[in-house]
């Protein structure tokens, strides 16, 4: 931390009357224990567990809620948290027992009812919950959430039943062996009664059962979280709390970190990646996250869905020099992809390095040949569509196009096609207006191979934007879901993944890493597979 002679105390003195913690660096060491400050973005949706589908809101839910399962920050394995046991004999009917002794931070006991009420709320159409589809496997979902927009005929899911204070049963509409492993996702968190009785009040200051409690929340600017001293769980926070500060620009957050005004930045801007090593040294983290970037194709367009198209797609894949692009543009914060999942799953979880084989290796010669055999590029040119407003997509799309142009020896073989805003981009995809390959990013909901395949490639699945459809793939996924032996299920999923490869349904580009930088005050900082810092383990000196 650099010395900040006179101006700082002036600013602090003025700020003290308003917000005591505004004086970042110097004010630590009070009775509450050391509080760290961390960069944040304004959550897009109200902070309800079943309504939060992006990482900024997810960050908060991760601190203030604990669910039946929790994903191990190292291995990504789903481990029991509030669940004492989850039993099933047929992979369709589950009996869940909640551990004794858990409470919400307002003192209310966490019971079977806390879960059942929360899930019913999330599934009910009238509550506008954007993660409602997480409950679609539970029996009775079509009645509480009719897809055609007709009036819902039930308030609660018929597949959920409270047995006694700590036990409830779940009946699914189909066999789904890995269902218990999905229960670590935030949408499945329990909710206290105050959520239902005083909803507006709860949203102003959410109450949960996690290691932190919310002390104050100024929407759009700052949230103060404090360690909950009576937290009953095993992962109690070792620091005094976390102050989340909203930054309009991640460059400013980085500058603040350099000036000793902020402790933790969990999104190092692309423009700073070159300097980050010299700026921060070993206080810079670059670890794999469950995110993969692919190029999807419009299968509703005849040009991309005719005999030989698979060769053209494979040819394009072989024309992309992934090594070079990840090296020069992303400074190794992304890793060339060689399958359609993510390294965070681990070998046992279904990640298989090199599953893509030759089809993902850069080889201009082979690329030219494949595209020629497949009948050439439709219309003589490919347009890669992407949204230009976030995530430095422009740079890599241009690089991918350069790589393709060089490989094919044709300056006009590939061009980028930017779309102004993300919402407009999603609209064009929804309206099936894509004319060629388009950017598709996938951030996992839970670390299971199922989550990398089914939502993206199953017929009519929620994120199957290219509308790819393959009977063999669908059959294998159904089989894998019904399989009770986890190892066998993963093997079947990998067979399904091979179907994706043989058709080159989407071109895998790279696995994305999570990156973070932190100040000298912090130690034991790491990112979980969702690229969120494991706040409760961070030590502040």
């Amino acid at each position: 931390m650099r010395g900040a002679p006179h101006a700082t105390w002036v600013a602090c003195a003025a700020a003290l009357t308003l917000v005591a913690t505004a004086c970042g660096g110097g004010a630590a060491g009070s009775d509450t224990g050391a509080v760290l400050s961390s960069s944040w973005g304004d959550p897009q949706n109200p902070l309800e567990p079943a309504n939060t589908n992006e990482v900024q809101g997810g960050k908060v839910l991760d601190m203030i809620f604990r669910s039946l399962k929790k994903y191990n920050p190292d291995t990504g394995q789903a481990e029991d948290m509030l669940a004492e046991k989850i039993e099933t004999t047929d992979s369709q009917n589950f009996t869940i027992t909640v551990k004794d002794g858990w409470t919400f931070s307002n003192g209310e006991k966490v019971t079977a009812k806390s879960f059942v009420d929360a899930w019913n709320y999330g599934a009910s159409l009238k509550n506008n919950q954007k993660n409602a589809y997480f409950f679609e496997y539970i029996e009775g979902y079509p009645e509480t959430h009719p897809d055609d927009g007709s009036k819902q005929t039930a308030e609660t899911l018929s597949g959920l039943k409270v047995v006694d204070e700590r036990t409830f049963t779940v009946r699914l509409k189909q066999k789904f062996s890995s269902f218990p492993d999905t229960l670590g996702y935030a949408a499945y968190a329990p909710l206290p009664q105050s959520f239902f009785t005083d909803h507006a009040g709860w949203l102003k200051k959410p109450v949960g059962n996690g290691p932190y409690t919310i002390e104050s929340y100024a929407k759009g600017s700052q949230m103060e979280l404090r360690t909950w001293e009576d937290y009953p769980g095993p992962d109690k926070a070792v620091n005094g709390g976390v102050t989340l500060k909203v930054y309009t620009d991640n460059n400013t957050a980085y500058t603040d970190l350099m000036a000793g005004n902020l402790d933790l930045v969990d999104d190092v801007p692309a423009s700073q990646l070159k300097n980050v090593k010299s700026d921060l040294g070993d206080r810079y983290l670059n670890t794999p996250a469950g995110i993969i970037q692919v190029l999807a194709f419009p299968y509703y367009d005849k040009d991309w869905n005719k005999p030989g198209s698979d060769k053209v797609r494979t040819g394009l894949s072989r024309a992309i020099n992934r090594e070079q692009i990840t090296e020069t543009i992303f400074q190794r914060t992304r890793t060339p992809a060689s399958d359609w999942t993510s390294p965070v799953l681990g070998e046992d979880g279904g990640f298989k390095e090199g599953l893509c084989g030759d089809a993902c290796d850069y080889d201009p010669e082979a690329a030219r040949k494949l595209i020629e055999e497949g009948g050439g590029l439709p219309g003589g040119q490919v347009k890669i569509t992407y949204n230009a407003d976030t995530g430095s997509h422009r740079q890599w799309v241009d690089a991918v196009c350069n790589s393709i142009n060089n490989a094919l020896g044709n300056e006009k073989a590939c061009v980028g096609n930017p779309v102004g805003t993300f919402a407009d981009y999603r609209n064009q995809i929804g309206d099936r207006k894509m004319q060629g390959p388009f950017r598709a990013g996938w951030q996992m909901d839970y670390p299971l191979i199922q989550n990398f395949l089914q939502p993206l490639y199953y017929t009519n699945a929620s994120s199957n934007d290219g509308k790819w459809s393959d009977e063999k793939f669908d059959r294998l996924v159904d089989e894998a879901n019904a399989e009770t032996d986890p190892a066998q299920a993963i093997r079947t999923f990998q067979q399904a993944e091979e179907v994706v490869r043989d058709n080159m349904a989407a071109i895998p580009l790279w696995y994305q890493n999570g990156s973070a930088g932190y100040s000298e005050r912090l130690s034991d900082v790491r990112l979980n597979p969702f690229s969120v810092p494991v706040y409760n383990e961070i030590k502040v000196s």
């Binding site: 002036v10 102004g420 407009d424 951030q443």
Partner: protein
């Protein structure tokens, strides 16, 4: 005077309606905002339909506009997608931006006019040439360069200020951002004042004042400056609106959660309610500032009368 003000106020009504309608249509052309709320996946159709209904997006545009305007007149600016009423966003954003604008305007007035007077009185001398060069540089360098440079030098290298502004955004924190925001206009004010002063210095009334034997400072402040300020006041008046709406770049660099930040976010998320609401208020500010400028003319130059 009273009738003039009333006429001007009445003229604001069509301008106001036209401006809001234009913004409303422009945001609407960008397409359906609900699709952007579900991340990289399709919103499930039932929830999307339900959300559209709640935000009134399922009706034709003209109906949306009429409902919106009806609500605006009752003080209801709608709700942002994160469930916050737009009026609440305004209540947090506008005070911050107003403070920033005040700081910027003060810089323009104090530094800009002083430099303008000094250079205007010493035309062709080294001090004039020096200031001329500096203003040229300031005008030609984009705001984000000045902003980032000052932030890096003062905030990180020398540690005089904090590189970002806290959510309280007090006046002393806004000094450097205000200077950056004002820099370009400041240079214009300097040059405008200089030209005006230099021209009027040779006019008859100044010669008369000097001939009467009035002290020099009185000639300059009462006679020369007062008459030379008319174009400068026009510029500063219109600049108020421009500074408030145009602070997006400065606000982003220094992490100020003001109007620019809300507008930027509103546009990215295609949130019609936020964008139209904020722009509507900005349009009003612009109109009122212009009216005040016109009224100030009469104060500065007694020959101007409004009827």
């Amino acid at each position: 005077m009273g009738r003039y003000v009333i006429r001007r106020l009445l003229q604001m009504i069509p301008v106001f309606i036209g401006a809001t309608l234009l913004i409303f249509l422009m945001v609407n052309v960008m397409g359906d905002p609900v699709a952007g709320l579900c991340g990289d996946r399709q919103c499930d159709p039932a929830t999307a339909a339900q959300l559209k209904k709640e935000f009134g997006l399922d009706r034709p545009v003209w109906q949306q506009y009429l409902t919106y305007m009806g609500n605006v007149f009752t003080g209801d600016f709608g709700t942002a997608f994160n469930g916050q009423p737009v009026t609440e966003l305004m209540a947090t954003a506008f005070p911050v931006t107003i403070r920033l604008t005040i700081v910027a305007i003060l810089f323009e007035i104090v530094i800009g006019i002083t430099l303008g007077v000094v250079t205007g009185l010493r035309r062709g001398r080294p001090v004039d040439t020096g200031v001329l060069l500096v203003t040229l540089v300031v005008i030609s360098v984009p705001t984000f360069v000045t902003g980032l440079l000052l932030q890096l030098l003062l905030g990180v290298e020398w540690g005089w200020i904090k590189p970002s502004v806290s959510s309280a955004a007090t006046f002393d924190e806004l000094i450097v951002p205000g200077l950056v925001l004002a820099s370009v206009s400041l240079a214009y004010v300097t040059r405008l004042t200089r030209t005006s002063i230099a021209e009027n210095k040779r006019s008859d009334y100044v010669r008369t004042a000097i001939a009467k034997g009035l002290p020099r400072h009185r000639v300059i402040t009462r006679h020369l400056l007062r008459n030379s300020l008319i174009p400068v006041v026009t510029f500063i008046g219109t600049d108020i609106g421009a500074l408030m709406g145009g602070a997006i770049v400065t606000e982003r660099i220094f992490n100020i959660h003001g109007v620019g930040f809300q507008l930027y976010q509103g546009i990215l998320r295609q949130n019609t309610q936020t964008v139209v609401g904020f722009v509507t208020v900005l349009v009003l500010v612009f109109l009122v500032a212009n009216l005040l400028v016109d009224l100030l003319y009469a104060v500065l130059d007694p020959r101007i009368r409004y009827a």
